[in-house]
Symmetry: C2
Subunit: 359 residues, 2 copies
């Protein structure tokens, strides 16, 4: 029996999670494998109910599960908490650190058929793109020590430490090359080696790892250039291998230029295959509770979970095929429709139901 910790969170989290649960039940039924789910509080609602964004009971529940399906956290209610108590930060960094989820995969795909959604110029978007951002998620300036304040008065400073070891770079680089082998055999490694000592080591180790994957083409780009290239011609990329901080920025650019953030899943894995799966978008408090949010990112996150942590590849394929069918047949929430077609929008539950039936 596989067991899943469900952390729906805040905003649209609970309503899109509802659909993902329905879809999980549908594939468990069809492919005949036992699956149990257990809900836990996280984020703002956990602050309200337990006084902290990531309560010990939630962490314990996740430890006992085979995978975590995460919704989204945060909202205006908790916005005035001090930075270190923000729900996003506490929940995400806490879970990433605790479970050592070093490998974050953020696929961003633009189908030529949906090119008009992209924020890029039509001749650029029309060719579509398929970029996988492989972001290192437990190192870099996020977790590097020391971090804090020193000095007095106007000389007082805030400081952080960017740091990567060879070992940390090597393990994420290997996974990026392996991912590229199953895709278009190209890795673009992102750094700022013209300024950062951390990046010089990053580039050195990535070059070493590349020797073991002679079939994969490797290029190195400075982060500023990578950001520019993404908004000039995203189709030039296959796998983008990024340190934590640069991956944060570049994966968000990738998400935005698909024009359909509500469709993008992500996976964060550790070395034993345990993982946390979550949509790329946020908690979207402005539309929460109305039943109009796009559940596809959450549903595709469940598919990634089945594939990477629960070894149910066929079920994952079935979900992805059903989602493709919904898109093909125009079973779309409002975010995927141009202004003049918004009246044709389906509700969150209608999209979930269609996908369940298609399975």
């Amino acid at each position: 029996m596989s067991s899943i910790a469900i952390l729906a969170g805040d905003g649209i989290g609970p309503e899109v999670m509802q659909e993902a649960k329905k879809v999980l039940a549908a594939v468990a039924d069809k492919f005949n494998f036992p699956l149990s789910t257990q809900d836990y509080d996280v984020g703002g609602c956990a602050i309200d109910n337990h006084g902290e964004a990531l309560p010990a009971s939630t962490v314990k529940g996740c430890e006992q599960a085979d995978a975590i399906l995460f919704g989204s956290v945060g909202g205006p209610k908790w916005e005035n908490l001090p930075p270190t108590e923000q729900p996003e930060r506490c929940a995400l960094l806490g879970l990433r650190g605790h479970f050592e989820l070093f490998c974050n995969m953020r696929p961003a795909t633009l189908q030529p058929a949906l090119a008009s959604l992209s924020t890029l110029r039509s001749d650029i978007a029309s060719s579509g793109f398929d970029v996988l951002v492989m972001r290192e998620l437990t190192g870099d300036i996020y977790f590097g020590q020391p971090k804090g304040r020193k000095g007095e008065g106007e000389e007082e400073s805030g400081f952080d430490t960017m740091i990567y070891s060879r070992k940390e770079i090597r393990r994420i680089a290997r996974l990026a090359f392996q991912a590229a082998q199953k895709r278009n055999n190209k890795v673009t490694s992102v750094d700022k080696a013209n300024v950062l000592a951390t990046s010089i080591l990053w580039r050195e180790v990535v070059n070493e790892v590349a020797q073991d994957y002679p079939d994969v083409a490797l290029e190195h780009l400075y982060v500023d250039n990578a950001a520019m290239q993404l908004v000039r011609d995203p189709n030039q990329f296959d796998v983008m291998l990024c340190p934590n901080l640069f991956g944060d920025i570049l994966s968000d650019i990738c998400a935005m230029i698909t024009g359909s953030m509500g469709m993008l899943p992500s996976a964060s894995l550790n070395s034993s295959g345990f993982g946390m799966y979550e949509p790329a978008g946020g908690s979207a408090p402005d539309i929460a509770g109305q039943g109009i949010a796009n559940p596809i990112a959450q549903i595709l996150s469940a598919a990634l979970m089945l594939r990477y942590s629960l070894n149910q590849g066929a079920a994952a394929d079935a979900i992805e095929a059903a989602v493709a069918k919904a898109l093909d047949e125009g079973v779309l929430t409002a975010d995927l429709l141009p202004a003049e077609q918004k009246h044709l929008a389906k509700r969150t539950a209608e999209v979930g139901d269609f996908i369940c039936q298609a399975i």
Copy 2:
């Protein structure tokens, strides 16, 4: 007599600098002020001639001048040098550090008339935008110490220090608010305060400074969100106040989405008004030596120099008006023309000559 240190550099640097010099001579003549220029080697050509990208003789020449007009540096010939010897890094970081050029201004403007050049979707680009990136240029992880390597074998790490003092944040923030007062009264401060101690202090000091500018609206954005917003709706921004590293990335996105990098000047100033002025684009070795590069970014950099370091505002205005005339009348290099009109392109010198005549 104002004296200018000319550092043309590599690639297209010398040929676009040639036009800037002609334009400077034209305004000096018309507005009747004495101006002398002196050339110095920098970048790759300085490595070739003197063994280093920023020779002491060049620094000395700059010290004796009232301002530096910089072209661009780097190219394939020097690409295989170790990261710490790269011409871009050595020349730029060396000059920024030596002259404490902490205030980098990178204006990025898209005129609605040139909207089709933007890489953004036409309905987004059609409203145009006018963003000024105010980037702190002598602090942050660029110059923070310690920086280096430690440990052995697979535990060996590379590390860098991100650090800002209140004083450093305050001086750039003040200039950003003052710039906003002359523009559209809005400052967007960029940080990553949900992760970085440096950013928490950054946000604190920016909030303090804001009190002295009650007429300017202030918002804070996380860098990942700022990058997304730039490719979704750049028109929402006026002044973007950025720490060094985030400013590097965001200013390049801004430049790219104008679609006309060859037209963007920049200024890097210290607290006494001394400054270095350079185009946003690079040395473009692929088109160097052909006489087809766009000289406008270099010419507009000269205009900023006249305004900010040489107190010749009228001459700067005259240059900018002449450039606008060239654009209006279609006196354009190939980079500004759509594919089917490339045959109408003017050469570098023709654009320079037109601007001189229009002055």
